[in-house]
Amino acid sequence: MIPILTPLGRTFLSFLQITGRLVIFTGRALSHCVRPPFYPRLIARQMIEIGYYSLPVVGLTAIFTGMVLALQSYTGFARFSAESAIPNVVVVSITRELGPVLAGLMVAGRIGAAIAAEIGTMRVTEQIDALKTLATNPFKYLIAPRLIAGMTMLPILVLIADIIGVFGGYLVSIYSLGFNPSSYINNTMDFLHAQDVISGLVKAAVFGMLVTLMGCYHGYHSRGGAQGVGRATTNAVVSASILILCANYIVTGLFFDR
């Protein structure tokens, strides 16, 4: 019995330790986002890195998702002569779910990994210790600008992804499925509610926080040279992706629970 319980207990204690460390890290990171001094130059640089440079990958994901969604919906709905529901399905799916989730996952792969690698390298090359000896708080200088940029830029990215995704569905519906352009746009606008877009943007802000937080957390705690940095990068992407899917369910429940 004891040989079974020992590893179980050790795993449970390790889980509690990691959870506690993550909660404290999150609390410290968020508190430094709202307490001066701020570093506007660093925040702007991170906004460009996270927002502007992620636009191509998020845009491409959104347009192809919208196009596939229109095609797939058509093949299903045509059996029941319900083709007129396609604009509704495209716009609601994109704004509520696919826009924020796919943009979040793409940014997790691009930005979460980059943040973990950069901060992890700073950790193993003593640059974070150097910051401390220069009387500069690493949470304020490294982590808060990334969190602020992540939480503000992801909603903007998702808003753009929503527009591009819906446009992708429009292109396929008009030029491939033979829809009338004006009735497609009218249907889209009729079915779209403010809450659909708002819920997607709230999700995006949460996902932005999760992606940057996981990148910073795993990078900050990386150990053991290049191998440790590699492990931190993988962990950042995997944990951010899983947390995005979990948070997506929770936020959806909060907005659309009956």
Partner: protein
């Protein structure tokens, strides 16, 4: 001001079952240069990190100019750190910043200095360590090891500290560049009046930069004396370390 810049009493720190420092006692007089020598893994870097507040000791006290810093954190600790300068073993320059921003990091981010003034200031400190203004716009990855060390030294003295720390300052450098770094360290101590604490096991460097030497072995200072006593230390640990013999009281693990 106290005549002792750094006063360490009964300092202990462990990592799990590894008891690294086991009661370190050490005094560094103001305006002097003390070098701590010791084998790899003897706890030299840990001792330095405890003084800098990067690691918190399990017990014991550290006084800087008569004021206790153990247990300080946040802004209080940062206020003390403004009196420190540190040259890291690998220089620890910020990869994302050009050389001039590395050198002027402290005045730029903590004293609210304008970028124009900070740039001028960094050129002055670069000149002090024998570097041309041409490299100010370079990034650390574009510099040689010796240049990186000198930029690191310029960054350390740009904080105008009371105490300056050097972690293996000549490691990885050729003998000529090592000698140059040692001369710059000596210049810092004599010209600027800094108190210096260095950790190294480069004995040529020890003789060039130190007024006093302390040997750290198994988490304790087992000998401390003037540099000129290194060759006749009357201590078997120091004798073995200086001569580099494998036989003696210092246990060598193969």
């Amino acid at each position: 001001m106290s005549s002792t810049a750094i006063e360490i009493r009964d300092l202990h720190i462990s990592f799990g079952s590894n008891h690294v420092l086991r009661g370190v006692n050490l005094d560094v007089p103001s305006g002097s240069s003390l070098v701590v020598i010791g084998g790899s893994g003897s706890g030299k870097s840990v001792l330095l990190k405890c003084i800098l507040g990067i690691l918190q000791p399990d017990s014991g006290t550290i006084h800087i100019n008569g004021e206790e810093i153990t247990g300080l954190y946040g802004r209080h600790l940062d206020n003390f750190r403004t009196r420190f300068g540190m040259l890291f073993q690998g220089s620890a320059l910020f990869d994302s910043l050009p050389v001039w921003e590395n050198v002027a990091f402290y005045p730029l981010h903590n004293q609210g200095m304008s970028r124009k003034k900070a740039h001028e200031l960094s050129l002055r400190y670069l000149a002090n360590v024998g570097l041309d203004a041409d490299i100010a716009e370079f990034y650390p990855a574009e510099l040689s090891g010796g240049m990186r060390k000198r930029v690191g030294l310029a960054r350390a003295i740009a904080t105008e500290p009371d105490i300056i720390f050097f972690d293996e300052p000549t490691t990885g450098l050729d003998p000529i560049m090592g000698d140059m770094i040692d001369q710059l360290i000596r210049k810092c101590i004599i010209e600027y009046g800094f108190t210096g604490l260095t950790i190294t096991h480069d004995m040529a460097s020890v003789r060039r930069i130190s007024d006093e030497v302390a040997l750290l072995y198994e988490g304790r200072i087992v000998w401390k004396g003037a540099t000129d006593k290194l060759d006749h230390p009357d201590n078997p640990y120091v004798e073995q370390f200086v001569t580099g013999h494998t036989e003696g009281p210092i246990q060598v693990q193969f």
